[in-house]
């Protein structure tokens, strides 16, 4: 059991059933990812990067094959258990930030804590997380629409981290940011990796991929390199 990887793709396929016929977005992927790895996933548009991330984020389950996360077969657990894994084990950072528009920056970060503990946060964790990404109290009171892209992504990172997940999934986190801001975000992610997180990042940018220990390239749903 010692050698069980944090994440294991065992012959995973994802097939979308479309009116025009079946479309294979992930084609027999086998891959192990160890604890505290920093992985970059690259590949042309439509090659299945986001589909793979959605499998990792347990937003979806494989059509065939098995995906183990923290030793658990994601297809064999209940929907509620999957929801709880999304909440506790995985932090998801999106290209479009996806903050909850009706909540302030602070409340966005507090939100996963509320999901987990079923009550408002009194530990100060949300504030600490925001402080770590450079947010003071005044800025934390802003709604997402009042923040710049870089600021929103910082909030999204704080939100993803607040429940102390093992795995950080980042689907083109810098895709909607200018280069300078993008590198600032990458610096934050590198810091998290050195603190022990397993970071998986999808990117088009080879410069960004340089941060990673290992790069996986997808092509037509298959691992090319």
């Amino acid at each position: 059991m010692i050698n069980t990887p944090l994440i294991r793709f065992a012959d995973v396929s994802k097939v979308y059933h479309l009116e025009s016929g079946d479309f294979t977005a992930l084609d027999h992927i086998s891959l192990d990812i160890q604890d505290n790895e920093f992985i970059a996933i690259m590949g042309p548009s439509g090659s299945g990067k986001s589909t793979m991330m959605n499998q990792l984020g347990i937003l979806d389950v494989p059509t065939s094959g098995e995906l183990f996360i923290s030793g658990r077969d994601v297809a064999k657990i209940t929907a509620l258990e999957r929801t709880h894994m999304r909440r506790d084990t995985i932090g998801y950072i999106f290209q479009n930030f996806y903050l909850i528009p009706l909540l302030s920056a602070y409340e966005n970060v507090e939100y996963p804590l509320i999901l987990k503990h079923k009550k408002r946060d009194e530990s100060g964790k949300a504030t600490a997380m925001l402080k770590a990404v450079g947010f003071d109290e005044a800025l934390s009171a802003h709604r997402p629409t009042q923040l710049s892209g870089g600021q929103q992504q910082r909030v999204a990172i704080a939100r993803a981290l607040v429940n102390d997940p093992k795995i950080l999934l980042c689907d083109e986190p810098t895709g909607n940011l200018d280069r300078k801001t993008g590198f600032q975000i990458m610096d934050i992610l590198c810091g998290l990796h050195s603190e022990g997180k397993t970071v998986i990042i999808v990117t088009h940018d080879p410069k960004i991929a340089e941060y990673a220990d290992r790069t996986i390239t997808l092509e037509d749903g298959r691992i090319a390199a």
């Binding site: 959605n54 984020g57 937003l59 979806d60 929907a79 509620l80 929801t83 709880h84 894994m85 999304r86 909440r87 506790d88 998801y92 999106f94 996806y98 903050l99 909850i100 528009p101 009706l102 909540l103 409340e107 507090e110 939100y111 996963p112 509320i114 999901l115 987990k116 009550k119 408002r120 939100r159 993803a160």
Partner: protein, 402 residues
């Protein structure tokens, strides 16, 4: 607020305040309709019951309609009209026993002139000795002379009458137009179960009546006032066996307050049910509008729902968030509806019934919380499907929607 999902719902409602208020108006209308209509019906019933119980000790005997002349005969005039005859009256007297009081009643409608104002009303002809058996003179004295008359309370108020005023009876074209002098005003009686409704009527002596209209000893009705209310069934049976010798063609119809009451209350409760159904229909319309607004809210927030689900929100929590929204709309609608019902219901009852003395009785006022509860329930029911739909979205599809 403790619950973040409640916060989210409040903010969503606030964000779309106009729309939410418009949707709630449907509930407001439904609640007002249900509760004020319910209260109106109940107040009506309570009032009728109260008034009819005034004549609870009275059996009313009228000539049976079967005895009327052949259909199409238009020869009937007041003097030849059917009624209770002298012979029948004597039989009733025998059957009713010594403890019962008998009141033979003449009545017709007449035109009259007061000062120069013409009018039309019922006129009752009663033996002056009988009047005090069941009527109360609140002002003035009983009929003494042949041309004396009493008037009902409403009648007196409407024409601003005082003791000593005179009424001219009959049409303008009549050659002889006798004049009556008002000697007394009766206490208000309401709608009475003994079929003598004096509030809007003129009461004259039996002698004056038969002089004027003829038909001596043929009474419109005979009221038997029993001493003990429990003997009513026995007295009724006794009268029935004595007078209705041919059961196939009964000579008289015998009724009492309870038989009249049940007839009236059952038709009143039919009316109440009908108006409640109208309230129900308006709530159905309200349900549609709440459903619409909830569906709009769900459809506008698909991406937000996707975000919530993708970062680990349980389905039940998403459902709860949308149900809260329905509850907020419901509380808004039911709250405003409850207050409006109090005001509108009170006005409607006061206007339609003329009294609000039954309004705050539990059986009447309970329609407000009941209407509010129904309104709230309608909201929650309307929110069930939208909430279910939101919680069962596929997070990936939801996230991708713009």
């Amino acid at each position: 607020m403790k619950d973040i999902f409640f916060d989210l719902s409040v903010r969503s409602v606030r964000l779309n305040l106009m729309r939410s208020i418009l949707a709630s108006i449907g509930i407001v209308i439904g609640v007002v309709a249900i509760s004020s209509m319910g209260m109106l019906g109940t107040n009506m019933q309570l009032q009728v019951k109260d008034q009819l119980s005034a004549g609870a000790d009275t059996i009313v005997i009228t000539a049976d309609a079967v005895r009327m002349g052949p259909t199409g005969s238009s020869s009937s005039s007041s003097s030849s009209a059917t009624g209770i005859t002298k012979t029948q009256l004597n039989k009733i007297k025998l059957a009713a026993g010594l403890t019962s009081k008998l009141v033979p009643v003449y009545s017709t409608t007449t035109q009259f002139t007061l000062a120069s104002t013409p009018g039309r009303s019922t006129v009752y002809g009663l033996n002056p000795d009988d009047i005090t058996k069941f009527l109360t003179i609140s002002n003035g004295t009983n009929i003494g002379g042949i041309n004396d008359a009493l008037v009902g309370a409403t009648f007196a108020t409407n024409f601003d009458l005082k003791i000593g005023n005179r009424i001219r009876i009959g049409q303008d074209t009549d050659t002889s137009r006798p004049v009556l002098r008002i000697v007394g005003i009766l206490a208000a009686r309401g709608m009475s179960s003994d079929n003598v409704n004096t509030d809007n009527a003129i009461i004259v002596s039996d002698d004056w009546y038969t002089n004027q209209y003829g038909g001596k000893d043929v009474y419109k009705q005979v009221n038997v006032i029993v001493k003990d209310i429990n003997t009513i069934p026995d007295v009724k049976t006794a009268i029935d066996t004595k007078l209705n010798t041919d059961q196939k063609k009964p000579a008289v119809r015998i009724s009492d307050a309870s038989s009249r009451l049940s007839g009236i209350t059952s038709s009143l409760s039919a009316i109440t049910t009908f108006i409640l159904a109208i309230g129900g229909i308006s709530l159905l319309v309200a349900a549609t509008s709440i459903f619409n607004v909830m569906m709009m809210s769900v459809n506008e927030r698909i991406q937000e729902i996707g975000i919530l689900l993708s970062i680990g929100t349980e389905k039940g929590e998403v459902r709860r968030m949308f149900l809260y929204e329905a509850v907020i709309l419901g509380i808004l609608g039911a709250g405003i509806g409850g207050i409006s019902s109090l005001i509108i219901g009170y006005s409607v009852v006061s206007y339609m019934i003329g009294t609000t003395k039954y309004f705050f009785l539990p059986e009447s006022i309970m329609y407000i919380p009941m209407g509010m509860a129904i309104g709230l329930m309608v909201c929650i029911l309307s929110g069930l499907y939208p909430a279910w739909k939101a919680s069962n979205m596929d997070p990936i599809d939801a996230l991708r929607s713009e």
